[in-house]
């Protein structure tokens, strides 16, 4: 096949690196719920190998098969043969789009451009926080703004409580997810964000969403921000906290924060400060199983996405017996909350949200004591 010849030349080594050992089956969240060979990295690498060898013609079916992946990167991290399936799959997605196949994300790409968010919705949530100049600027991201507004509100309350002088901005979608689903960051949106951020005169930006964090750090469209970019856990790890809980607490590493950005210690530093009873799940850090919401998966395959979240949640509960599950990612938070069954007593929060609540509990206890 002549289509995509350049792609195969560039990625040939990467594609044949896969030795078909199948070890990725043990760590792929999609495979975990479907048990179908095409679901995991090996299946997709074989698909691309055959396409490269001219044995397989690319069809919409093939293009869409590549979308069944949350880009969690667990396969790459655990691949004994040194293959990087996540990179290959993302590159192949772009190739499919370039050639003209419908990979289910065309509508999202157009929606992001038109509405400035991944949901194609019109009204972006406002938290009523100041917008102007400050040494810190906060960026929340689409999932926080459209699906977990209350959680972000708590994060904002915590920062206020801690006396952090920060401003919010008129955000639009960082549009980074488009890069992972075959499209590109929208320049106009990126420029809007950069402009607004620079206007604040801030020295540092605090981001609540790990995906946005990754985009701001990595993508060339954001290289002229002119300030330090931190995920909120990096910021909070250096702040002294005056609250504690004796509840049994565990932590889920979001793929975009952990495997993709290498931020494992800071969330744990924060949690250890406030929860002496911190326990790790069995599969944790670079081996943490994905919650199922990344890489556009929650939008295109929501049922499976929630099955994956339910799986991960069930295992965390079984392995840790924790009363509180913490994470610091609006997508993981949302997927877990949707997946949690009523009979499961575990409570799920973002770290910042949880700490804000501890402060509130502490404050009301003090108030009662003072009045009593």
């Amino acid at each position: 096949m002549t289509e995509g010849l350049q792609f195969y030349e560039k990625w040939r080594e990467a594609i044949i690196q896969c030795s078909r050992c199948g070890f990725c089956r043990a760590v792929c969240p999609i495979f975990d719920v479907s048990k179908r060979d095409l679901a995991n990295a090996r299946g997709k690498m074989i698909l691309l190998k055959e396409a490269m060898e001219g044995k397989l013609s690319v069809t919409d079916g093939v293009a869409q098969a590549l979308m069944r992946c949350t880009t969690c990167m667990n396969c790459t991290v655990n691949c004994p043969s040194g293959a990087e399936p996540d990179k290959v799959i993302k590159a192949a997605r772009k190739e499919m789009v370039t050639i003209g196949y419908d990979n289910l994300f065309k509508a999202m790409s157009e929606g992001v451009e038109k509405y400035g968010n991944i949901y194609g919705e019109e009204q972006r949530h406002e938290w009523g926080h100041k917008k102007g100049k400050a040494p810190y600027v906060l960026f929340a991201g689409c999932v926080g703004a459209y699906r977990e507004e209350e959680s972000v509100a708590e994060t904002i309350r915590l920062l206020d409580l801690l006396g952090v002088d920060f401003t919010t901005i008129d955000e639009v979608c960082c549009s980074g997810v488009l890069e992972d689903v075959g499209y590109k960051v929208k320049e106009a949106l990126a420029q809007h964000n950069v402009r607004e951020i620079r206007k604040t005169g801030a020295n540092a930006m605090i981001i609540t969403c790990p995906y946005c964090y990754r985009v701001f750090i990595e993508h060339p469209s954001y290289k002229d921000l002119g300030l330090e970019v931190k995920h909120i856990t990096q910021f909070l790890a250096e702040v002294p906290l005056q609250v504690k809980t004796d509840k049994r607490v565990t932590y889920h590493d979001p793929c975009d924060l952990g495997r993709h950005s290498g931020i494992y210690e800071e969330p744990r530093e924060i949690i250890r400060k406030i929860a002496p009873t911190f326990v790790e799940p069995e599969r944790t850090r670079e081996n943490a199983m994905c919650c199922g919401s990344g890489g556009g998966f929650r939008g295109t395959f929501p049922r499976d996405s929630l099955k994956i979240a339910r799986n991960r949640l069930d295992r965390i509960i079984e392995e840790t017996g924790a009363e509180i599950l913490l994470t610091e990612c609006p997508s993981c938070l949302h997927n877990f909350r949707n997946a949690k069954l009523r009979r499961q007593k575990i409570e799920i929060y973002n770290i910042t949200e949880f700490i804000a609540q501890l402060y509130e509990e502490g404050a009301s206890q003090e108030k009662q004591a003072a009045e009593g």
Partner: protein, 140 residues
């Protein structure tokens, strides 16, 4: 009865946010109507609040989601939430398959049955309302 190609069974009360209500003894059962179910697409999540929650007619008290869409669920009458359809926790497709039957969502103990007067029952009224909804949001 069928209105503009959507099912709107008789004997139910219809609320303008696309929910239906039915009297069952001294309780009011509510769910989502056929038009909304079709527009939403495959519903994958319904928030099921704890029993005892206080509700106000016309105010949203929980949400539901399909792949990309998040919709608010509005109380059809004021009162206390006494029962949720637990089947929906793992079988949200019941809402799409049988929105008026197995896909029922909540049972409310109303402060007063009088509030049902604020909802639509007349076929003509429902028809006019639905036509406007379709014109604004699409559907047929």
């Amino acid at each position: 009865m069928e209105i503009e190609g959507y099912e709107f069974p008789e004997g139910l009360f219809y609320e303008e946010n696309h929910f239906w209500a039915r009297v069952e003894g001294d309780l009011v059962v509510m769910g989502m109507n056929d038009y909304a179910q079709k527009m939403a697409g495959d519903i994958v999540y319904v928030g099921l609040p704890p029993e005892g929650k206080k509700l106000t007619q016309g105010k949203s008290f929980t949400k539901l989601e399909s792949g990309k869409w998040l919709g608010k669920i509005f109380a059809v009458v004021s009162g206390e939430l006494v029962e949720v359809n637990e089947e929906l926790e793992e079988n949200t497709q019941l809402i799409n398959e049988d929105p008026y039957g197995k896909g029922w969502m909540f049972k409310i103990k109303p402060d007063t049955m009088d509030e049902l007067k604020n909802l639509m029952t007349d076929a003509g009224e429902i028809h006019e309302w639905l036509k406007k909804e379709i014109a604004e949001h699409g559907g047929k």
